[in-house]
């Protein structure tokens, strides 16, 4: 049976840890709400951009041709791994890394072997994960600190960099591994192809809304519009991951607080047992001592 002082110290240390996990859960809940707001606020912008695209398409003959839809033989590929900067969020980061790893093994094992695969990291955890496991991949840390400022202007510098890399042929395919946000308790970690984009096709619902004036011309407008849409999409990857991270941390910290409760209950029982035992022992000693005196 553990001695009293030891158990008391363990109880105190578990209580301290529980306070930390409780606080972290609260902080994450607040941050999650803000992250969700950011996703919601971007939606009207993205929706209107898409509507504009549809409007232009409905005025075009045939499908849209853009430089970003060009399917080439893949000689150089890039996987963007979007993880959080910090740990203590359950299996979230390792799930994102595993999704990226699965894509790497399935689609780009050959490119990896020949050293033509680039891994770009946004968020520090991904870098830590891949650095040792995949020494032959080119590791790109240009945008590892992107999460410090999630405004569109900041994030779009990274998106623009990727778009340029695709246009100039530096990469022939770009995939993004990230945490797709569903709700606080559910996040999916998936890998999505960012470039080349799927062909933009007319939909059955597209009809001529009005006879628009297009400045500076339909095709030119598409050249501006498509990159902007792609940047918005990239922003969404980041905002989703950000929200997922906080959702995952909230769940993980909630679980940790619960576990601490269980642990405390057990420790308190063994503390009481030890105390009881000590008291019983003392009484026995006193009674034994008294009996010895009487007999003597």
């Amino acid at each position: 049976m553990a001695n009293l002082k030891e158990v008391r110290e363990r109880i105190r240390s578990v209580q301290n840890t529980q306070q930390i996990t409780k606080a972290m859960k609260m902080v994450s809940a607040a941050k999650l709400r803000r992250a969700q707001d950011a996703i919601l606020q971007m939606r009207p912008y993205a929706d209107r951009l898409n509507k504009m695209l549809r409007n232009i398409l409905s005025n075009l003959e045939g499908d849209a041709q853009t430089a970003f839809g060009e399917v080439r033989e893949v000689q150089n590929a890039c996987i963007v791994v979007v993880t959080s900067n910090r740990g203590l969020c359950g299996a979230f980061n390792s799930n994102v890394c595993k999704a990226a790893m699965a894509t790497l093994e399935e689609k780009y094992a050959g490119l990896y072997a020949s050293g033509n695969l680039t891994l770009m990291f946004i968020g520090k955890k991904g870098y830590d994960f891949f650095r040792k496991r995949y020494p032959k991949a080119v590791l790109n840390r240009e945008f590892v600190d992107l999460f410090n400022d999630l405004s569109f202007d900041n994030v779009s510098t990274a998106a623009k960099r990727l778009l340029t890399a695709f246009e100039t042929g530096e990469f022939d395919a770009i995939e993004v591994a990230y945490g797709k946000f569903k709700n606080a308790a559910t996040q999916f970690t998936i890998t999505e192809q960012f470039l080349p984009v799927a062909k933009i096709e007319k939909e059955a619902g597209d009809k001529l809304v009005a006879d628009y004036i297009f400045e500076p011309g339909k095709e030119k407008l598409l050249d501006y519009l498509v990159p902007t849409i792609l940047q918005t999409q990239f922003q969404k990857f980041l905002l989703d991951t950000h929200a997922s991270e906080h959702g995952a941390r909230m769940t993980a910290m909630d679980k940790a607080t619960e576990n601490a409760d269980d642990l405390l209950r057990e420790l308190r029982i063994s503390y009481n047992k030890a105390r009881q035992e000590a008291i019983t022992k003392e009484i026995l000693e006193i009674v034994g001592g008294a009996a010895a005196l009487e007999n003597g």
């Binding site: 606020q41 951009l49 504009m52 405004s151 628009y212 297009f214 407008l221 902007t228």
Partner: protein, 107 residues
């Protein structure tokens, strides 16, 4: 004429206006009531909105806060780095990027 100005991060203007001047790709132009349907990309420059009275909500470039107003004939200006404008049946949508925040940085 109803107008809504959006950035990817937030809504920066919504309300009734008399006119709006935008830096179009082929030169600056002004949109008044009953303008023909148009879609245009925007260059770096400034958007000048003249309000028509009635409630409107706007983002104040100086202080970086969202404010409400209702006086007519007020001029609200935004500096942008690019974007798009769509006009259809007296509904103007402006999608812009690079609006400055209170510190004078892009935001």
């Amino acid at each position: 004429m109803n107008i809504i100005v959006l950035t990817p991060d937030k809504e920066i203007f919504r309300g009734e206006v008399n006119s709006v001047k935008v830096p179009g790709a082929l030169g600056e132009f002004q949109v008044l009531k009953n303008h023909a349907p148009i879609v245009s990309s925007l260059e770096e420059g400034k958007i000048t909105i003249v309000t028509a009275g009635g409630e409107y909500r706007y983002y104040d470039e100086e202080s970086g806060a969202i404010k409400d107003g209702s006086e007519a004939g007020r001029t609200v200006v935004f500096h942008i780095s690019g974007g798009f404008v769509e006009v259809l049946k007296n509904e103007v949508s402006l999608l812009v990027t690079g609006v400055r925040n209170g510190n004078g940085n892009g935001g």
